[in-house]
Symmetry: C2
């Protein structure tokens, strides 16, 4: 832990710097996999699954029998918990639906905006030591509510060639259409181009390691959209003497266990709290199952003492944290003023874990400062807004002259003529 007291503003950029990703080294591999999957389809996916995952799979699609069987392997208490989370996440994303926006801007000039679902979406669920079924909830629930017609899920198989039962059960619960045992760059390439068995999609969403991240960026060069650029997960806590030090420490550590590159920052106006949190971290760290990972992340963590609340606010907005916990007496000021954050957690009884799993908000959030310009995944991530207009005879008679003048001033004669030809008829 680095304790930084009253840093001068000129040092903020250095203190708040994220690790720079090194994508150049990965790009040639991504190019190779994309080329091969594009031209050879399934056989290329099969080859790369053998090469990267050490597995020879005959077919990638998870069968209905496998999905049905999964249910019996998921603990019934866990099923109930997932169902509670499912209900909360559904409620919160359902509430994000928007009615069409309709305005008659001039008499006879009716304009409106409607959202329509992206018809084909691909969800990527990373593999790893534990099954990330919570991410299935976060991606598939809004996709289903939005009305996406085809919801495809790719996830790397484990060493038995299987996807965890918890993921299959949750995907079925959420209404995912097809599940494929494919991971990494080849999964992203398959959903970009389509293969004999894996359909191409219009948008790919979901987290992943740096291979997946670079592959998603590459996908955008082939008419596919992605949710957002990804980086290591982050948490910034702002706290004063109203905060409980042991809770703050537990929140910082929950972020640290994600990976050695996790970003963990405490900003405080209280020297007392800073010291208490520091000692609580030491106490709790050794008891964690992933203490080795968390310890590495904590080496780079920062505990920053600032002069006052306004300085804290400015520093936080300059950082733009993915997760942002506020434990301040003056919490309203911090809630109202924040401009750049992914998701905000308020008060001593709102741990980040709540939003990671079950409160209802989405956990797919902008990292690496992207909270300055990107939203986290939400219902709109699965729709696009289309505008419509219908103009009556009276409407074009009223607005026509305006359009003609502007088109002429931009030197676009045919644009003007499209109006003039109608006005001439109507004025006959």
């Amino acid at each position: 832990m680095k304790v930084i007291k009253f840093p001068s503003r000129s040092d903020w950029a250095k203190i708040l710097a994220r690790p720079t990703p090194t994508f150049e080294t990965i790009e040639p591999l991504v190019d190779e996999v994309f080329d091969k999957v594009k031209s050879q389809g399934d056989s290329a996916v099969r080859d790369y699954t053998a090469q990267f995952d050490g597995l020879n799979l005959n077919s990638f699609q998870v069968t209905q029998a496998e999905i049905d069987a999964a249910s019996s392997f998921v603990d019934s208490e866990l099923k109930k918990a997932i169902q509670v989370a499912y209900d909360n996440i559904s409620q919160f994303h359902q509430a994000q639906k928007t009615a069409p926006v309709s305005v008659e801007t001039r008499p006879g000039v009716q304009c409106w905006q409607e959202k329509r679902p992206i018809q084909k979406v691909g969800l990527y669920i990373p593999g790893g030591t534990a099954p990330l079924f919570s991410t299935v909830l976060m991606l598939a629930i809004p996709a289903k509510i939005a009305g996406c017609k085809e919801i495809v899920l790719c996830s790397p198989p484990n060493n038995k060639g299987e996807i965890a039962s918890e993921i299959l059960w949750t995907a079925q619960l959420c209404g995912v259409n097809r599940i494929f045992k494919v991971g990494g760059i080849q999964a992203i390439a398959a959903m970009t181009f389509g293969t004999q068995t894996i359909p191409n999609v219009y948008k790919i969403l979901g987290p992943g390691n740096q291979f997946v991240t670079v592959a998603k960026q590459k996908a955008t060069q082939f008419s596919v959209a992605i949710d957002m650029p990804a980086g290591p997960s982050e948490l910034l806590v702002v706290a004063d003497d109203s905060a409980v030090a042991s809770y703050v420490a537990s929140d910082l550590l929950s972020q640290a266990e994600h990976g050695a590159d996790s970003q963990v920052i405490l900003v405080t106006t209280s020297q007392t709290l800073l010291l208490e949190v520091q000692s609580e971290i030491q106490k709790q760290l050794s008891l964690l199952s992933r203490s080795e990972i968390a310890s590495k992340a904590m080496l780079n963590s920062k505990l920053i003492l600032v002069e006052n609340e306004n300085e804290a606010l400015e520093l936080i907005d300059e950082y733009g944290p993915e997760h942002y916990i506020i434990c301040m007496n003056n919490e309203k000021k911090f809630v109202d003023s924040i401009q750049n954050a992914g998701s905000v957690f308020i008060g001593n009884y709102t741990p980040e874990s709540a939003g990671d799993y079950a409160s209802g908000t989405n956990h797919t959030l902008p990292t690496n400062g992207y909270a300055k310009q990107y939203s986290g995944v939400n219902l709109d991530s699965f729709t696009k807004a289309i505008t419509f207009q219908k103009i009556s005879k009276n409407g074009i008679l009223q607005l026509g002259k305006t359009i003609e003048l502007m088109a002429a001033a931009e030197g676009l004669d045919a644009h003007k003529n499209a109006v003039s030809i109608r006005l001439n008829d109507l004025n006959k």
Copy 2:
């Protein structure tokens, strides 16, 4: 014009193919300019402005005196027209404001979503033979309504080293903060990295030629967001015998005058209309000031006769047109069913020009099939959605067990502990 009668479904992809952009050849130049602007700032911008625009500029920022002077050079009739468009566009984008979405998902678990403005945005307005002040309206009005704090505009200077008065006057009207006489790759690089005089921004929006397009894509590698990938402009008209052939022809030609690479498509169920439109195009084409450009685009245009309305609908959704005009008896069916389009124009008295300039909808729209997954520019293009949550003691007592179970099942011990430590205190 290519007349295609009853194409078989297997030929659709070929018929609807867009020209493939060739970005590879431009990328090395973009890399060079980005590197130099990043390291040398203004002096690099100055060098490239000399090299590409043939101009030696001492300072890039347009002065208040220049802006004030511009007003006297803009025709007063045109000013009134711009003001009408300004009012309509303001009304339609103002109406897109959304109230916070708030849900108590469980007793004591309050979740909400609010939109906050992107604080710094950069608007790019292309140069060319005529001043594209309409694009200033389309970008700056929603930026201002969203509440963006810093709105920067870059546009290439003409051969006198000036930006057109119409652009300056409109930018002032819309509340743009600073205007710079910088265009092309160097403008995008300057807004990406910031220079001594040009600020960096969080998001860059606006159309441009292929150099600007590749530069915008490059900018996304440096923590800047962009509105959307850009391609040549497109119009698809679906029409039957209820359409007026001369109006349809005028709309197709208004698209064609944009550039030789414009995409112009008529889909019809009526052979009679097809023939009439074909002859109307010939008649109108020769009268246009930009007939040379329009003629080239019309060479690649397609007039497609289809079997029936359902086939038309499927073909249109597969294409995903930027602009989509519906002149059909059965217009409701075509409006309700469309899934993939940027902006839709309905009926004989709704030319595309209306939305291009003055009805109120935005004209910055997804091309090249991106209507399948991208919205056109709208109010949300200038905001990001932030989620918030506040959980009471009772709330965490109710939800805690669910979070603990899910965190444990994902092997994330510290996530579980952040809840347990609170539950232990509360259950004491």
